[in-house]
């Protein structure tokens, strides 16, 4: 080979290598649902987030050992990662075509991956699964915007009561015996609190997509193809916040607050209302005993149905062991295992009939039991309001920013919601 030829070959080799690498980066699943051979054997990877710790490790190790014992010839590799930036980790795995076989995730991440054809459609792969889960949990994983496929086995549900600092109610001229249960009551009492106490707030959380749902705002059109929360009801909801902000009933920090800050404020005794989850009570008892002493507990504030959050187990469409992956995901989410996990994690099961267990229905008047029973009642009425097509970061950031601009008077509420809806619809359309 001549020097010039060698030079050309070297450059060509480098270019080809680079192209191959970039091709790897851009690669993705073909979205097809593979036919299962029905044989439960082989090896799969099971991915969870923040569950490998003192509290849960033994549960998952036993669960996996029991499954492997019941299904000889199977090998489940459990991988757990910190939940921080989990979307980035999922996106890196999905883009590289290395998504684990069974992954723990919420509906909005599942929606994006399902849209890209990365997840298994359980309506086709496991059509009998539907009857094993609470109907609304199954429906929450069924994406109308994607042709009605179901892309995850519902796992655990979470909702919680509203917590109130009754000492602040007394201090600010409110009756702690009449805790707010609707948005009207909440805003009215928040305005009174703002008038009477300049250093205390009732609300430190900006409207989010799920609270629009709780207020009764229609979030999307019937086909799940377009966002509609900029309608009159949506404007009415944000207007209540704008008026409260104008009366100094919401602090400027709240416009930028993440939920962690809200919890800190409540624990510090400067905030009167905290929408909590089933494990907030234990947290308050341990870390804010002064607030806990005068704690009021009421149902989640809602004018329609209360919100609940759902976690599911999805199956990689490209898994080499589809039968094993679906069998394992079914095993983890069956009634017996969900009940055990719910007791351990203070969450609620999504498997059909499990909520009727005495653990969720009987009340021995202990505050923790009362919260659990009331939250379980709430789960029966609750809805997963967060539309799966509403992205976890981009859409919710835009909504929060636009509402903040409306509250600061930089634009009208209608203009802010229009901008947010336009952004979300644009993303939805672009991701065709």
């Amino acid at each position: 080979m001549t020097p010039a030829g060698r030079r050309t070959a070297l450059i060509a080799g480098l270019a080809a290598g680079s192209l191959m690498l970039s091709a790897c980066v851009m690669g993705g699943g073909d979205g097809t649902t593979k036919k299962s051979d029905g044989k439960v054997s082989g090896k799969i990877t099971f991915q969870t987030w923040n569950l490998k710790n003192d509290k849960f490790t033994s549960y998952f190790k036993d669960l996996i050992a029991d499954f492997e014992k019941a299904h000889p010839g199977t090998d489940i590799r459990w991988v757990d990662q910190p939940a921080e930036g989990y979307q980035d980790k999922l996106s890196a795995d999905a883009a590289a075509g290395s998504l684990p076989d069974v992954v723990d995730m919420g509906p909005e991440s599942a929606y994006t991956l399902a849209k890209a054809g990365v997840l298994l459609d359980l309506n086709k792969a496991d059509p009998k699964a539907e009857g094993r889960y609470v109907d609304k949990a199954w429906k929450a994983m069924t994406f109308e915007g994607l042709g009605g496929g179901t892309y995850g086995y519902p796992w655990y549900l979470n909702t919680g009561p509203s917590f109130f600092n009754k000492a602040l109610f007394k201090k600010c001229g409110l009756n702690p015996g009449k805790l707010p249960a609707t948005y009207d009551e909440l805003f009215d009492q928040a305005e009174t609190m703002a008038e009477k106490c300049s250093d205390t707030m009732m609300i430190a959380r900006m409207p989010a997509i799920e609270t629009f749902g709780e207020y009764g705002v229609p979030l999307m059109d019937a086909g799940g193809k377009k966002f509609t929360y900029n309608n009159a009801k949506g404007v009415e909801y944000v207007e209540r916040f704008r008026k409260l902000y104008a009366k100094k009933g919401i602090g400027e920090e709240a416009l930028n607050n993440l939920q962690t800050k809200e919890v800190e404020e409540f624990k510090a005794g400067r905030l009167a209302y905290l929408p909590g989850s089933s494990y907030t009570l234990d947290d308050l008892k341990a870390t804010a005993p002064d607030v806990y002493k005068d704690l009021g507990i009421g149902p989640r504030i809602s004018d329609s149905a209360p919100n609940m959050y759902l976690e599911s187990l999805v199956v990689n469409a490209a898994t080499k062991n589809q039968s094993l992956a679906t069998a394992f995901a079914t095993y983890v989410t069956d009634s017996a295992h969900q009940l055990t996990f719910a007791k351990k994690a203070s969450v609620f099961p999504s498997s059909a009939g499990t909520l009727d267990d005495a653990y969720f229905t009987q009340d021995d008047k202990d505050p923790a039991t009362t919260v659990r029973r009331e939250s379980a009642d709430q789960v029966r009425k609750a809805v997963v309001w967060w539309p799966p097509a509403f992205s976890g970061s981009a859409d919710s950031n835009t909504l929060r920013e636009q509402i903040a601009q409306a509250l600061l008077g930089k634009k009208s509420v209608k203009a802010a919601l229009d901008a947010s809806v336009r952004y979300s619809n644009e993303r939805l359309k672009a991701d065709k």
């Binding site: 993705g28 979307q87 996106s91 800050k261 970061s393």
Partner: protein, 316 residues
């Protein structure tokens, strides 16, 4: 005739080094050897710089998302960008950041370096103290300043004790105050780094120039302006270039002070934060993020070229 002789002579002179280099190559017959030496560095540059750059360039003309390659959309991303109020905000913030931070980064470290350049008993202590923020983790720096500037933080507590303000100063919630707070943090963390660069440059200035200036009756300020500044002019250009690139690409300080949100109503978003927001996560719009990156590259390129041209003009 004279002219042709001169031309031939100069041509011969010019050809001499080339002939010598040619003879070295001919003697050694290196073949592929230089390429093998170049290969590791070249591979890194190609894979880590050129391919990603070409990829970004290509992506910016598509509607690609993270999980979908997308189609060619021409200038659509750029049209959308200039209609996007977040882009305008980010561009304004990054530009303002550069305009305010760079002069501070060029001048203040030079003053500090001049103050601690002499070999005194305490200069070592001062040098170390000023360099300390450079070695601190950005997360720690962020936590320190978030706690200090918070509504209930140290600064507001001090103001309140002194009865200097009726209400806490909203350092972390007011758009402009937050941006200027972030600039302050950038300058605070960068001073020590650029001070060390200036110290190296100051060591190269001939002491006799200061002696001559002193003999001419120049005081400390006059010596600084007439000897020190001209002596470190090329270093000043280097620092201006480095700090302007860093300032335009600011991310960490604003990200930490806003808790990762971009400030109230997104008013403190910077170019890099916008790229991060659009280009990461499951719903990443890689095409749009690529277009923003490309615009940022062009702006930074123009900034660097302008500074280099200015430097050349000054030198000539």
């Amino acid at each position: 005739m004279t002219l042709s002789v001169q031309r031939r002579t100069s041509l011969k002179r010019a050809a001499r080094p080339a002939r010598r280099a040619g003879s070295v190559l001919a003697t050694h017959r290196w073949g592929l050897t230089p390429w093998l030496f170049l290969l590791p560095g070249l591979t890194v540059i190609v894979l880590m710089v050129l391919v990603p750059f070409a990829n970004t360039l290509g992506l910016s003309f598509t509607d690609s998302t993270l999980l979908r390659q997308g189609e060619f959309v021409g200038w659509d991303n750029f049209r959308r960008m200039f209609a996007d109020e977040r882009f305008t905000t980010a561009l304004l913030n990054s530009t303002l950041y550069t305009v305010c931070v760079v002069p501070c980064m060029v001048v203040l470290p030079l003053v500090l370096a001049t103050l601690v350049s002499s070999a005194g008993r305490l200069t070592g202590f001062f040098r170390t103290t000023m360099y300390l923020p450079v070695v601190m983790s950005p997360v720690v720096v962020g936590l320190i300043w978030t706690t200090t500037l918070d509504k209930r933080g140290l600064v507001n507590a001090l103001f309140s004790t002194l009865d200097a303000v009726a209400e806490p100063v909203p350092f972390l919630t007011d758009r402009w105050l937050l941006l200027f707070s972030a600039m302050f943090v950038t300058v605070w963390t960068g001073l020590g780094y650029y001070m060390v660069i200036y110290l190296a440059a100051l060591a190269n200035i001939d002491q006799s120039l200061y002696d001559a200036a002193a003999m001419d009756g120049a005081g400390a300020v006059r010596s600084f302006l007439a000897v020190t500044v001209p002596g470190v002019r090329s270093t000043m250009t280097l620092i201006a270039v480095l700090s302007s690139v860093a300032a335009f690409r600011v991310f960490g300080e604003v990200y930490v002070l806003t808790g990762g949100t971009g400030g109230v109503g997104g008013g403190d978003l910077t170019m890099t934060m916008l790229i991060q927001r659009e280009g990461t996560g499951l719903q990443a719009r890689t095409g749009y993020a690529g277009a923003i990156s490309l615009v940022m590259f062009v702006i930074l390129g123009a900034l660097l070229l302008a500074q280099l041209a200015l430097q050349r003009k000054r030198s000539s």
